[in-house]
């Protein structure tokens, strides 16, 4: 399960609104996968850290602290230590 980071995490960590995050998240290089919860419904899109960092590093607002936070979230989700 390499796709660990959702759009909501990116907005929260980078302090972006829905409108500001849209051009970043609609980048075709991201290739997200959609994962639904136990009740189905319209699932969340999850992104890989490797794809995401390559896009985010081009943005002016992106800082080292944001990168560290995304990396920490990624390792937690992959090892199942994060809700």
């Amino acid at each position: 399960m390499d796709h660990t980071i959702s759009a909501r995490d990116i907005r929260k960590i980078c302090g972006l609104g829905d409108y500001a995050s849209r051009p970043i998240l609609s980048d075709p290089a991201l290739k997200p996968i959609k994962r639904s919860g136990p009740k189905g419904g319209n699932g969340l899109r999850f992104y890989r850290l490797a794809d995401l960092l390559r896009i985010l590093r081009r943005c002016d607002f992106f800082t080292q602290a944001m990168q560290d936070a995304l990396c920490a979230l990624d390792i937690q989700r992959r090892n199942g230590t994060h809700a």
Binding site: D2, K31, R48, L49, A50, L53, C71, D74, I75, R78
Partner: protein, 148 residues
């Protein structure tokens, strides 16, 4: 297996200098473990694609970006061996290359055995119906002899 063949290359090209030096350490460990596990069975043309897959591996990428050694440590032989095995086995072309090398070697050993027999012996074995079994046992015996 990346869906897009340029993905790994793009990832490698986007590394910072620190990440690049970490990747060099990982790369050396990967190549050493690959040689230890598979010898010359993985074709040389697969080296670069496998390194691209390695850079795309989530655990390796995490180490490259953060320098955190909890999941991947280039100094740790066992971890690197496990990761090398997973990366090589996840790439279907590398697996095919290994199978092909094995098959080529098998054919070469079978020829070697058949040529070592005298024609009369060969005909005798063929009449007994034991020629195939004898060839197969010779090949099985010799196949891994060079790795011991």
């Amino acid at each position: 297996m990346p869906s897009n063949f340029t993905d790994g290359r793009v990832t490698i090209d986007n590394f910072t200098s620190t990440e690049r030096s970490r990747f060099d350490a990982i790369k050396n460990a990967f190549l050493v473990q690959q040689a230890a596990l598979y010898g010359d069975r993985v074709a040389e043309i697969m080296t670069q694609p496998l390194l691209e897959d390695l850079a795309r591996d989530a655990r390796v990428f995490h180490h490259l970006v953060t320098g955190d050694c909890t999941e991947v440590d280039p100094e740790d032989r066992e971890t690197m061996q496990r990761i090398t095995k997973e990366v090589v086995e996840a790439n279907k072309f590398a697996v095919r290359s290994i199978e092909f090398s094995d098959e080529a070697r098998r054919r070469q050993l079978a020829d070697e055995y058949l040529n070592s027999l005298k024609p009369t012996q060969r005909i005798a074995f063929e009449r007994d119906g034991t020629l195939e079994d004898k060839t197969a046992s010779y090949v099985a015996e010799r196949l891994d002899a060079r790795f011991v």
